[in-house]
Symmetry: C2
Subunit: 347 residues, 2 copies
């Protein structure tokens, strides 16, 4: 089905009781570190070890422009996409201070931004086209471009893995991409479009109504074959498809995948339709305020770590949660057992 095939296995579960036994013998009442314990079990299972570790964490921001912005579906003008990419390169954006705080290596990728950047060490040029086509009138992305996106997204992750990375998160910059996400969501989950559309970067309720009516028209105009790949192409973004390829590659390489907000949740939704096992490698980090985010999370049976009312994108929700995931790994590696500490086992 895909041109690039991935060999994604469900992690073996034989280790789970041993992980639980180790955690239950640490000096604390049984279960008293709550979600840290569950995270440690998940990461230990992915890595198939009782002493998991997070090595060389990377964060990839994929950027792309969207033809649909010509219809006024975003509160922000499209020139903000390249402007913010310059801001990422200069270190002044939201994602930058978080990456510095947690010592996470950042990579910025031009997946399909409508701007001619000069060559730079700080920007990976994987541009497919200068923005997608306007899906009010035509398919946003061709099948050839789709294959290219999956392959290029996967390649970026391979390079991180080669550098020793085993935990990775993704973010995006693309004015208009909450619209694409809402359309993927309604088509892939069956949740009605009006429950999938939200304020994006700042619409008021009138703006959301206008956005909805344009997206409804686009959905009505859709005459494709209804297959998953056709839907992803028709309403997609280059940055979103590269993320899908990146997520699948990360799962194939047994990496821990941190899932950010609304757009990244719809990317993992898409990835999981291609390879359901990708979900087992995913940690959902943040539930945002964008309407529909809770619904798609519920659909995926996902319960994010944080609920901080953030809606910036870029991956800020994932990076905010990184130290909590790090805590879970430190817990299982650094805490003494009852026996080691000569504490009466009190559970």
């Amino acid at each position: 089905m895909l041109k690039t095939n991935f060999n994604i296995k469900s992690p073996k579960k034989e280790i789970v009781p041993f992980l639980k036994e180790k955690i239950d013998n640490l000096t604390k009442p049984k279960g008293s570190l709550g979600r840290l314990e569950k995270l440690a079990v998940q990461i230990g299972t992915i890595q198939q070890t009782l002493s998991p570790s997070l090595n060389h964490p990377h964060h990839i921001v994929f950027g792309g422009d969207h033809g649909i912005t010509a219809e006024g579906v975003s509160y922000s003008p499209p020139e903000v996409t390249p402007q913010m990419v310059f801001n990422f390169m200069e270190g002044g954006a939201g994602i930058n201070f978080l990456a510095r705080q947690h010592n996470i290596q950042m990579k910025i990728v031009d997946s399909g931004i409508n701007y001619d950047f000069e060559s730079s060490d700080q920007l990976i040029d994987l541009k497919v086209r200068k923005g997608t086509r306007n899906y009010l009138h035509e398919k946003a992305i061709t099948r050839e471009e789709f294959d290219l996106c999956i392959e290029r997204g996967a390649q970026v992750v391979k390079e991180c893995h080669n550098a020793g990375c085993n935990v990775i998160s993704f973010g995006e910059m693309g004015i208009g991409n909450t619209s694409s996400s809402s359309l993927w969501m309604t088509c892939l989950t069956g949740i009605p479009l009006d429950q999938c559309v939200g304020a994006g970067s700042g619409f008021d309720s009138e703006g959301v109504k206008r956005k909805y009516s344009i997206l409804k028209q686009a959905l009505d105009n859709y005459k494709g074959d209804g297959s998953i790949i056709d839907i992803l192409c028709y309403f997609g973004g280059y940055e979103m498809l590269m993320t899908v390829g990146a997520m699948l590659q990360a799962a194939e390489l047994n990496m821990v995948i941190l899932i950010d907000g609304f757009i990244m949740t719809n990317c993992i939704l898409a990835a999981s339709r291609l390879y359901p096992e990708v979900m087992e490698y995913s940690i959902f980090c943040h539930q945002g305020d964008e309407a529909g985010h809770r619904l798609v999370l519920d659909y995926l049976h996902a319960r994010p770590l944080l609920n901080f009312g953030m809606r910036l994108g870029e991956g800020t929700g994932a990076l905010c949660a990184y130290p909590l995931i790090d805590s879970s790994v430190r817990m299982i590696n650094e805490m003494s057992s009852f026996k080691q500490a000569s504490v009466t086992k009190y559970f």
Copy 2:
């Protein structure tokens, strides 16, 4: 009323619009960093600056034993209190790995543990008595001991402040102290006792029932004057009263106070009854699973940062949340403004 008086002022609010203006001009949609923005406003207001900072964070664990444990109100045996203090000193407990992870200086205080420790650099000896009296039959703590606890707790915080600390969190070790907390809670909020009692370190529903019936008897036996100080003495713990003194001192010194779980929430409840302004210095970090915690948080109009199902105590919930608070300060200091980054102000 108190022997040690505190001069705790409500932070001046004139700076709030300036903090909001600075945050609204950072390169992100308005409000899109959610709770990080609210935290930055709170900390900037406490510190009266547009460039707040977190300096030399400290975490204090107060330990104490409880006479009521003779009645079997805890799932864990009382010898666990000193055993866990040794574990803290050796670095093997839950709170230790978190303090190491976030570079937080820890201090361990013997407030009233029923054990004769040898003198050690790692343990601050402020012992009032080897455990409280059994409040099923008599007042747990005398008025003189109360004054001593407030004064000693305050002294510990003064020393941290002298070392350059402006952000502090507190934790406890004291088998039996969820019982004391439940009794403080019911007396100070009017919430019925049965809604304030939970599983502590691991009771099943039968155990919780037994615990409730003993605490109900203790409450029925109470014949004090109903004043706040009398209630805090009657049902209190030495470690809890030292925490109250420590919290009040921290607020007087304009420090940011991180509030952990059920027991620490009841300590700030007590502190706020003495000086309501202490609440403005407090950041609620974690909502635990202990029955009643949500109720006392609602009573205080507090909405914690995390809901991780933790119930270890020691301050683990507060320390897990520390990097999120750090993120808020980095946001306001490190992000570029729209003007600095030449980004179209898109809100």
